[in-house]
């Protein structure tokens, strides 16, 4: 009893915190993303510049994060890789969310379509993710576009499930039924009553997809099915580092890996804060 009372008094005071936290992590993420994108203009072609007198140099004052086997600065390559991963992740998450939203909307239109969409979801979920990704990326011939399409086409099922369940529940809401009884068309009801309700779910869903997309992009590239080896992508950097790890050149793998980890964790945190706030 006492605990319940205590919670009653404490909760209202801290009730505003999720929003504050979400705003805080959102502003930090936006700042980091702006920094990442802006750094690409400042870097110019330095991720590709080779210095043959400084090959495989360890981190020092001259070479902040060390250099690779061709004497290219690792900090410039890591930044360029993260920016590339960011764009690939953004586009893949966006397309994935659009697919999820359209399929969920389609499923809410009729029972047959719902069964079809459910079947599609189950089919895709039953196939191992990475194998499907590799197959699609390989079939599309590799490269940035192929990676974006492969990641977008394989990541929608879980979000579609959430959105579909939400739409099925909304379809029975009295205000939706009344709107239909007032003679409004299915599209009107879907567009004006149901979709606005789904937007927060879509936003959080897209943000949760984003780290997945980045990780899978890096994995695909690491395995050689993704971006071209000439591009300074995180996956390419990590695959390169593998060859030199046994020689003790730890910086080649640690810094790009850490950058990727921080970006993924950052977006994951942002998504979980936003989910609590919205």
């Amino acid at each position: 009893m006492k605990q319940a009372q205590l919670r009653h008094y404490i909760q209202p005071r801290f009730g505003t915190q999720p929003r504050l936290r979400a705003a805080f992590s959102l502003s930090i993420t936006i700042l980091l993303v702006i920094g990442l994108v802006a750094s690409q203009w400042l870097l110019g072609d330095s991720p590709q510049q080779m210095q043959f007198d400084a090959r495989l140099a360890p981190p020092s004052g001259d070479h902040w994060l060390g250099t690779d086997a061709l004497g290219r600065e690792l900090w410039a390559r890591t930044l360029a890789g993260l920016a590339l991963s960011f764009w690939v992740g953004c586009l893949a998450a966006l397309f994935s969310t659009l697919i999820a939203l359209s399929l969920a909307a389609l499923a809410s239109m009729s029972r047959r379509l719902d069964a079809l969409v459910s079947l599609l979801i189950d089919t895709l979920l039953s196939v191992p993710h990475l194998i499907l990704l590799m197959l699609i990326a390989f079939a599309l011939g590799g490269g940035t576009q192929a990676v974006i399409i492969a990641v977008a086409v394989t990541h929608w099922p879980s979000l579609t499930r959430v959105l579909r369940a939400e739409l099925l529940q909304l379809r029975q809401a009295p205000y939706v039924r009344i709107s239909q009884a007032l003679g409004k068309s299915r599209w009107f009801v879907l567009y004006s009553h149901m979709l606005p309700h789904l937007l927060p779910h879509c936003l959080v869903g897209a943000l949760l997809l984003f780290p997945h997309a980045i990780l899978h992009e890096a994995a695909l590239t690491f395995l050689g099915f993704g971006l071209s080896p000439s591009q300074p992508a995180i996956g390419v950097l990590l695959a390169d580092a593998m060859r030199y790890l046994s020689g003790g050149y730890w910086w080649l793998g640690v810094f790009p890996g850490l950058g990727l980890l921080l970006m993924v964790l950052g977006f994951e945190r942002l998504a979980s804060h936003l989910r609590r706030a919205l």
């Binding site: 809401a173 009295p174 205000y175 039924r177 009344i178 709107s179 009884a181 007032l182 003679g183 409004k184 009553h193 606005p196 309700h197």
Partner: protein
């Protein structure tokens, strides 16, 4: 004329809630429906408005089935007004979704002009109920299923609401099915009253004791 012929309904894996119920609602007629909690009054109302499909029997309007698309001539007014409005829309938009009532019509139902710019959360249950009643009176509507619509209102506002609804119903000749626990209210509003119990409808005569427990407060 709205006609329910031999309606039967049950929710999945439950025992039958409504069994072979027939009911007729003529234009301009007020019919009362009472019954214990869980007797199926709201379910019968939803069946009449086409929100639920009966397992057997049919609901006919002038001898034909209820239209599947477009404005439904039978409108259902639910018990909980806060669930009947989109929480993301302002009240003015909610009303305009159905029709544009004149200021006099708004006034008749006690709808204040400044409510229209507010969100539903900023209005009380009673205020929202009045909005819902006014919304359901769109041109083309011929029958109303009023499911406990005045329970959230104070006695004076209740009288005002029913008076306004009665006046509008007389003018436009729509039939109203009033669902309520309040037998005194039903006695005053509806010349014809039914009591739903055990899935069957019983017609009440002038003496309500015949169909409701005489020990219950009236």
């Amino acid at each position: 004329m709205l006609e329910a012929r031999q309606l039967s309904f049950q929710f999945a894996s439950n025992e039958p809630l409504i069994q072979s119920v027939s009911l007729t609602l003529k234009a301009g007629e007020w019919v009362g429906l009472s019954g214990d909690s869980g007797a199926g009054k709201s379910t019968l109302g939803k069946l009449l408005a086409g929100y639920l499909t009966p397992q057997t029997g049919e609901v006919c309007l002038e001898g034909t089935a209820l239209p599947k698309n477009g404005l439904q001539p039978v409108q259902w007014l639910p018990q909980s007004p806060e669930l009947a409005v989109n929480p993301r829309w302002r009240v003015g938009k909610i009303l305009r979704e159905a029709w544009r009532p004149s200021e006099a019509q708004q006034q008749a139902f006690g709808v204040q002009p400044h409510w229209l710019s507010r969100y539903p959360q900023a209005l009380s249950g009673g205020e929202l109920q009045r909005i819902c009643v006014l919304r359901a009176l769109a041109p083309g509507v011929r029958f109303l299923i009023a499911d406990e619509i005045s329970t959230m209102l104070d006695p004076i506002t209740q009288v005002e609401l029913w008076r306004a609804l009665k006046k509008e119903a007389e003018k436009r000749q729509f039939g109203v099915l009033v669902i309520s626990h309040d037998t005194a209210l039903l006695e005053r509003l509806c010349p014809q009253r039914y009591h739903l119990s055990g899935g069957k409808l019983k017609q009440c005569s002038e003496q309500l004791e015949q169909c409701s427990d005489p020990l219950l407060p009236r």
